[in-house]
Symmetry: C2
Subunit: 153 residues, 2 copies
């Protein structure tokens, strides 16, 4: 799945974690910062809500906020919630099953897919939303330093 849903989900969650957390954000506002359509955000938030990562409220003054503290949200959960979870696709046409290889290659490839998926989830499991926030902060400081450094010349 080469979609950008994971990226947009992490961005959205970071926004929810960054702003005052008791005040829910509106999809329109998030969409504006992420530069996409509000419906795209709502669909994503809907998936995140199903995974109990966020809580939405309908009606005027409604919006969405995190369901838990950022330190308690792992990127694995986000990945599972919004991404299909296949690193590569199998053959679109089923291979010729008269051949020894063709008969079993897809079963073998599926096993490899599973291994990779596990590896990815383990890896993402080590990263929490809180860590993403601090990575962002560090990145911002680096930017600032670079910029000042260049001004000194």
């Amino acid at each position: 799945m080469a979609s950008s849903r994971f990226s947009i989900a992490v961005h959205t969650l970071a926004l929810l974690a960054h702003d005052e957390r008791d005040k829910p954000l509106k999809s329109e506002y998030i969409a504006c910062l992420v530069k996409t359509n509000a419906v795209v955000i709502r669909r994503l938030l809907s998936d995140l809500a199903s995974a109990n990562l966020v809580v939405s409220q309908a009606g005027a003054t409604g919006g969405t906020r995190l369901a838990r503290a950022p330190a308690e949200i792992s990127l694995t959960e986000v990945y599972r919630a919004v991404e299909g979870g296949e690193i590569f696709s199998l053959h679109r046409q089923k291979p010729d099953s008269h051949c020894d290889i063709g008969r079993s290659i897809q079963a073998v490839l599926s096993k490899i897919q599973d291994r990779l998926d596990t590896a990815i989830e383990e890896n993402l499991g080590k990263i929490s939303l809180a860590e993403v926030l601090s990575m962002i902060e560090i990145e911002n400081k680096n930017c600032l330093n670079k910029y000042q450094g260049e001004n000194l010349r």
Copy 2:
């Protein structure tokens, strides 16, 4: 990249490893077994040749054969040769950079991409083409057993 190129590459290499290895296979023949077009196979083989995994020969009686023994070909090499190598995409539209999050989120996501990519390559590095062949054999035997078992009823 949710393409099936990796699957088709592994299938193709398995075919090259399975048949007599001194006799090169023609793209048309491989395409028939993989159930795709010969040009698709040639494009793939062309990438695999650039990665020194196979050797092709033009002209009548030409074709393609493995460049090394199956035990010496790791799936990491195959993956790198044919697949773009991005588990998820970044935002298609760049996010609003007036916002603290938007300014740095993509840099952070890139780092996460890199980590995942490394994890995948490490994982695939543990699997050689030779192992794929034996996995296929095991799978075929399992199929056979199942089939015979069902016939006994």
